[in-house]
Amino acid sequence: MALSASNLNAGDTYTESLVEDLKRTQIVMYAGASGDYNPVHTDEKFTKELAGYPSVFAHGMLTMGMTGSMLTNYVGDGRLTKFGVRFTSQVWPGDSLNATATVEDVTDGIVNLKVETTNQDGVVVLSGYAAARVD
């Protein structure tokens, strides 16, 4: 399952669809599992009337969690050594997300990856990096 250094080249990419038409229920599931019950993620009334947004929106950490799933599918289980991101745009119910890992380099048994997640309009919602052990 793990990647082999000899098969990796700078510029190689791996892409996965993370979600199609993100449902509010999935955001609720994430709130329940993570313990982050900020109403801006699950409470439409509060979010529209008080927080001033058009609807509830996903936790940044839900997008990071889904992106992490793409990464572990690519590099193998238990292989990540680093994973870091910036949240560059909000993710809304109804969004469809794609995540891509791009190989930057392979040194001393570690692959460095650039990580990017975009929505259906091509807007980057998450931008970051990861590193993983390779064989």
């Binding site: 940044g60 950490m61 969690g65 799933s69 289980d77 680093k82």
Partner: protein
């Protein structure tokens, strides 16, 4: 958030993996996980964030007998006006998150989380007015005192909700 005792449990890992849409068997099937390289169930990469569940004072969880800023009859259950700017309800927005994995955690681990305040800075944003950033560094140690995960989070408070 600082946490004295974060017991990592199989059912919590299963629910967390489901919530991020990850159906990898290594997150719930012990028999399958035994045959994998880690040799047992492990937690997904961002699982440590759910240590919030074990912080008794975590401010983004409603507590019995206390006002909650989410809606009931009205848009907020808080009688007085909530303080602070817009942008994220009560909690601000999450700007960045970074993890370093020293070891992958799994059921049976009992972690502590210690938090250090990092840097703070300000920036003028085009879509939300002044942005106030603050950084926290969280170190997760296991039951043997070994550092297993280092996490760095950056939160941002905005002057007004982000323009769409």
């Amino acid at each position: 958030m600082a946490v004295d005792k974060f017991p990592v449990e199989g059912s919590h890992i299963m629910m967390f993996a489901r919530s991020v849409g990850d159906d990898n068997q290594i997150y719930y099937d012990e028999a399958y996980a035994k045959g994998t390289e880690p040799g047992g169930v492990i937690a997904p990469p961002t699982f440590a964030q759910s240590s919030a569940q074990f912080d008794p004072d975590y401010f983004l969880r409603p507590k019995p007998g206390e006002d909650w800023f989410g809606s009931g009859k009205e848009a907020t259950g808080i009688k007085k006006k909530p303080s602070g700017g817009g942008g994220g309800g009560g909690g601000g927005l999450h700007a960045e998150q970074h993890f370093e994995y020293h070891r992958h955690i799994g059921p049976g681990d009992v972690l502590t989380a210690t938090v250090k305040q990092g840097e703070g800075w300000e920036k003028e944003g085009k879509r939300s007015g002044k942005l106030i950033f603050s950084e926290t560094i969280t170190e997760y140690h296991d039951q043997n005192g070994e550092l297993v995960i280092t996490a760095r989070g950056v939160g941002v408070r905005t002057e007004r909700p982000v323009d769409q």
